[in-house]
Symmetry: C3
Subunit: 630 residues, 3 copies
């Protein structure tokens, strides 16, 4: 179990390094991420290197028994690089060069950047591959943080080449993009433009492909660095994700590229359910990692600096957060960053050593947590009987302009169903709709707007083989090019659900309708036509009063359920389905007790204000207990 | 009476065309607008044409007895055109080229665009002028939808030439624009810039002339196409307006250019008074058409796709909407579009044939409506005794920056007075302030901020000859260059109103004052000085307590009334004026029964939730009855 | 005592000038600011001049006994200048040239602009230095109004030169800017970019230096004009400030450059405490003037035109405003502008002669005020025993992105404490934290986020010498480069306050906590650690319940107090401190009676709705009385 964080010794005089070593030992730090922002120091001029200081830090860490997750510093190119390679500079969607003075200011399609990144990576890998402190390689940092897409002319050329590779012919591209609409058929590859200063009514499939292209451009950069490292070192290579908080990246794709998945997670300070959002992100990280252990690469000891109001963590909250990540599969508790910066944009971001120094409650909590982590013998996997469908491409598509309702948001429905599961103490995996789902008793698809026919068939096979499926409205409507499946909605799911939808009836702002049991619902209604499914519940009011609101379709050995609205409370429905699917979970516990089992350990994390007694132990308010099954 | 809509067969395989014909016949379609977005297909490369598919569609339609409103496809230039003519691309107010992948992406001042548009128009006119299916020509589509103004250098040059034509000399321009303010006198034509990235405090008259210029640039393009068609065909030429929903276009000017006025109208889905807004737009369309019948070129069978929440139409609502347009002068019920698209930006826009196909309530309503329209023998004109002043130039001027109150909005006051008239079952025409008004018993000027001295005199002659005039505050303040008329406000109306305004007293946010009868009022107060008029009602509170709030000036054989605030309810005032002016209207009917007479038919459209008995017929809730006077 | 305003006769035919003279004499006008926007008329072409009309106006004014504050017209370069010097045009932060048609459209770093401004200044100074009407010189107008910073390439070059002058070496700059964060070390001066299209996470110190540079660029332009004038004339030179309402200008710096400080002030129409905001601005103007009399160069007779709702002044309000300025040190009552413009961007800005002319309440109030001002024999200084710290650099730094809470706003805390003082009838000076403070009994630092160690020491010397100091939270945190002082917060004030802050605890939106006396507080809490100070009051709830909320540190002969939150009402606290510090002020008066003493006159301005009796006179509601001490 790793404990530690980002270490930026270059911000401090060398005498501070010695104190750092002492304090790292005191707090049980055994891994630091090093050199993430050091390019400008390591290569002070093009092709001239200065590794002396890094050599000293590496040796010092090793002498103190601390391992290193050694970074390639390529997320923050040096200031000289921008000047001597102006074509490499990031261009925003407004067509303007973004000025310097920050990180991530490069174009992901720039060959000059790629060459420079490869060169410094080669230098680092060559020099440190054999260093005994190196435990892991940390390629880049938060790919896409501020440069998910670049809109420069070089990116446009790159996009065209990428499209040519994807489609082969313009005929195929025109067919996929539906360019017959508004007569926009492309007759030459260089007629295609990136969506720089986009017009209203832009071809939706262009936008989706531009996002896919942008992911691929970053992945290509990652692969180049990874492969250089691999030529020198057998140590695992990772890059840190921002799992549910970086819409433009597709982490299903990314996860296939790394040796070990790692993630950065920051609490939404003012969200009272932020511990549930944390759990969701941890579960999603584990899921993209294929269920294997992963690393919490960054979280915070206290406040961050970039939210509107950066609330500090309450006493015990850092511990609860850390152990929740571990419970959900993390083999580490790592922070950004070791020592709070005195200058720069993130000086008000909390750290392990705060501005107030070591005579502080925060430091004492860090030391206590480090000691607890050192004692943890947690290992093994988290097993889930329930899965929720998550697909970044569906996220992109659902939130394009000109949808039936602006209230349709990808994360909104997913978080609603996830939170209900969390409160039912049910552990959830996330899945891509093309995955083998046979291990799950229940699969929920709350926001699967874009869903291929193949994925629809996959869900159908899952049900026929005995699975239980719950689909929420406005799912299975279009394919990956945002083209409506032929025939009635939901084209990719009509068969498995045993119904069709005749017309969407999005509700007005603040409108509320009810189902025939009296339950209120909002946002959406629609006219469902049964074709094999049974109506379990009907609308009692609204534009579809008397028509089905919740349906069930028994198919093969399983069942497929459909909910045609946004119930104000989805828990009663979910409870019925969990029972129906035979999902086991603890009963009779308060909602805000987090219960997760990993390997032989069961974590009980009490997010409530009262002590809870469960499984014969009493967990104090705000406390954590970890039960070990012998 | 035309029934049909936009037909885009190019989006579908030819086998679907045969089904289309069958369904069109089933639903009574007798006119389709064809080829609106077909440029990219008809001219796949510059100067190379492919009319084969269109020939087949034309013949097929003709064989099925369906007439064609044949479009020039110039609102959506082909993708190849942008590439080979980069100078033709639209530049936004931020100075950036708007990227491709949508329609309307061209600069209205581009000579390259004008030549290309003329060429394809010539081809179409030549080829199809003699085709028996052609009933009408549909030039372009929604001029100005996304490119009302272009801010490129060519537009700037064009603007300077236009100004030279308008003013002749810089002395005249400087005088008109008031450039003495801030010492901005122009000494050469090429010192004048378009308002690209405009500064605070921009010369208001420059902005107004730039809008006039932009209208003229589009009209010049229209004329070029129209005149080409006219050389080949005697069939009427139209282009579809967006009457009250395209602020940058001046449809008084546009209406003078077309053979028949046509309009697109889309319901404001979440506006509970959207049927009144519809009526207003229909009345305004009829008015710009000079009272002649016009064509409803586009409306929707159900939801649109571009509003925040695209509510579907309720049962009967499509019929009510359609018949309301007919009642107010439309000789057609046409929709965008025939068959719902599967791809592109508008796939969630409803259509006559929905995604759900013909086994759907919507299709059945379409068929029923088509049959009803076919039986309608409505003809003739709508006669109104009341007119409301509407002037796009006043709209532009009123909403420039740096006004007395940001709550001053052109449509706000007009819609307030219009809605009150609607609820009083009074049919209204709209008029330009320079029009001959003698046919009206009452003229209302709710938002005539910019009003020339000549227009003021026109209103005065109207009153002196026996007319009755009601003016709302902040009218008659400036001329068409946003220059305050000399002397006290309202300079263009002081004489006819018999008063002056000493000082404006806009109210603070949410402030409410009252008149001496106790009626509440908001937004505005001002110090009225009587000079011939009588105070009918005074302010009881607010900055002008004790001073006139409503005045009457008997002049010649008529009277001129002035209301110096925004009463919370204008109906009592309007009722008095309607009585005073002798305007006949039905009495004792519920507010939400729409009553309009066209020719010998009286339409009763019940927008309420209860049946209404009127003129010895009972109209069910949501229903329509049409009475024929023998 | 000057009475008058901006006079723009060029907007009117010469016959109006004669009426102007008559009305100026009638209303007691004795000074007008002339020629502010006349460049385009005085120099109709480059190097060609037309002073004839100005000669006539000058003579006319002189003949009528009216003095002139003669302006250099350089805030509004002629339209021909933009065309012939395109490199001089202002470029916005988005990198786009701002179009013409307004004032202030030039780049402050443009050498072409500087040359042209010097040339017209030389012409004016030479021609009119000897004219007997000239009483004063009005250089430019509202420096920085719309062009506080320019982001063009020339500005970037200028910024780099300025930085080289400031830092000498890149090593010094890198150290000051903390470029080690994110590895942004600069290796060449031309790697530094202006923050055009700035990235997230921009180096904060770069932003701060860019603002300092921008101030200096404007001051250099001012100096050039001033020095030209000084070569010809001994009359005083001023330029009009916008004291608390132009965040980008640093008026401590500006005040050192002018012979007499002058200020423009406009009421915040919808702010019910706008008379307190006025008082604050007047006190701040007097303070930057070093306590010397200053000139109210512009205010308004009624409504302005640029606020959302431009409420007119109530009866008596113009008089109250005017006399409040005089009471707080102004030797003038001057308005923008003499006669309301009929055209241009400010036609709805009130004036001394309104559109309604002289048969108007407003004109009568102007005449009465002019007569009253003429009778005023007020002179001498305003003395204050209390000072509030104000530093534009702290304003800039506090409101950079990525702070602990978005609710931290510079003016918010200052206005809270100022308003409480105002309601306690205590007159306040403003001070820079480096000033000699020994004359004050109490100094309050509500928003001193950025505070150098030297300034912290200055405050400490003040306390040790017997002063009393009140500091509000989040003060003394960083130095002028936004670098956190070493050690615990508040690094620059730990010693004088006798405490440290362990962790910030900004509160969530709308959260309320309480102190142990029950007083509510909002926005902020923090963990205070005493180190010499005593806890006067503790938090009763919130994240720091039981820990100090208000502390006192007796040091030397004085005391230093610290308040670690935002009390809902700061008056009880302030009253205690005023008593403790022995600050004298009137007792028992209603809150809304403004009481200020200047020289031997005491102004009683009744902003309330009831008459007030004080010092044996009764001031009617809305009235003013001025008591003279013999």
């Amino acid at each position: 179990m790793y404990f530690g964080g980002d270490y930026n010794p270059e911000q401090w005089p060398e005498e501070v390094w010695l104190e750092d070593m002492r304090l790292m030992r005191e707090s049980g730090v055994n891994l630091v991420s090093l050199g993430i922002f050091a390019w400008g120091l390591l290569e002070p001029a093009e092709g001239r290197y200065d590794f002396g200081w890094l050599d000293r830090v590496m040796d010092l860490l090793h002498d103190n028994g601390i391992q290193v997750d050694l970074a390639t510093p390529t997320s923050s190119p040096p200031s000289w690089f921008r000047r001597s390679h102006p074509a490499s500079r990031l261009v925003g969607q407004d067509g303007q060069v973004v000025s310097g003075g920050s990180r991530h200011g490069f174009c992901p399609s720039s060959p000059e950047y790629a060459r420079a990144a490869a060169r410094i990576t080669e230098q680092l890998a060559q020099r440190y591959a054999g260093h005994p402190a190196v435990a892991m390689w940390h390629v880049h940092n938060e790919y896409g943080w501020a440069n998910a897409s670049c809109y420069c002319d070089a990116s446009q050329e790159h996009f065209r080449r990428w499209l040519r590779d994807r489609y082969g012919t313009l005929e195929a591209l025109n067919a996929a993009w539906g360019t017959l609409f508004w007569g926009l058929t492309y007759r030459a590859w260089d007629e295609i433009e990136v969506p720089r200063n986009p017009p209203p009514g832009l071809i939706p499939a262009l936008e989706l492909d531009f996002r896919r292209f942008s992911v691929d451009a970053h992945i290509a950069l990652f692969r180049a660095e990874r492969d250089i490292i691999k030529r020198h070192s057998a140590k695992p290579v990772t890059t840190n994700f921002m799992i549910a908080n970086c819409k433009p990246m597709d982490y299903w794709k990314w996860a296939a590229e790394v040796d070990v998945v790692s993630n950065d997670h920051y609490l939404q300070a003012e969200n009272p359910g932020n511990h549930i959002e944390l759990a969701m992100c941890a579960d999603l990280t584990r899921s993209v990692a294929g269920g294997r252990p992963w690393l919490l690469m960054e979280h915070s000891t206290g406040a961050v600096n970039w939210q509107p109001r950066n609330l500090a963590k309450r006493p015990g909250e850092m511990r609860r957060n850390s152990l929740a990540h571990v419970a959900r599969g993390s083999d580490s508790v790592l922070f950004f960053q070791w020592r709070a910066s005195r200058f720069g944009a993130e000086k008000f971001h909390s750290a392990m050593v705060p501005h107030a120094g070591t005579d502080s409650g925060l430091w004492r909590e860090v030391v206590a947590l480090g000691q607890e982590v050192a004692r943890l013998a947690v290992e093994g996997r988290v097993e889930a009987e329930v899965a929720i469908v998550w697909d970044w491409e569906s996220w992109w598509a659902l939130e394009l302009p000109w949808r039936p309702s602006s209230e349709l948001e990808f994360r909104e429905r997913i978080e609603t169903y996830y939170a209900a599961m969390w409160r039912e103490h049910v552990t959830v995996d996330f899945v891509h709709p093309s995955h083998d789902l046979s291990r799950y008793k229940l699969v929920v698809a709350p926001s699967s707007y874009a869903l291929s026919q193949e994925a629809g068939k996959n869900l159908q096979r899952y049900v026929e083989s005995g699975g239980h499926l719950l689909v929420s409205f406005f799912s299975g409507i279009v394919d990956g090019n945002d083209t409506v499946h032929p025939g009635s909605h939901p084209g990719a799911l009509r068969e498995v659900l045993g119904l069709s939808v005749e017309e969407f009836h999005p509700l007005g702002a603040h409108a509320e309708i009810s189902l025939d049991g009296g339950q209120p619902a909002t946002m959406w209604s629609e006219r469902v036509r049964l074709a094999g499914a049974l109506a379990v519940r009907a609308f009692a009011s609204g534009p579809d009063a008397g028509h089905p609101a919740l349906t069930r379709h028994d198919l093969g050995r399983g069942s497929a359920w459909y909910v045609a609205t946004a119930p104000a409370d989805v828990r009663p429905l979910l409870r019925d389905l969990l029972d129906h699917a035979g999902v086991e979970r603890p009963r009779g516990l308060p909602d805000d007790l987090e219960v997760v089992r990993r390997g032989r350990h069961t974590f009980l994390i009490n997010h409530g204000d009262s002590p809870v007694t469960a499984a014969s132990v009493t967990v104090p308010a705000g406390g954590v207990d970890i039960l070990l099954e012998e």
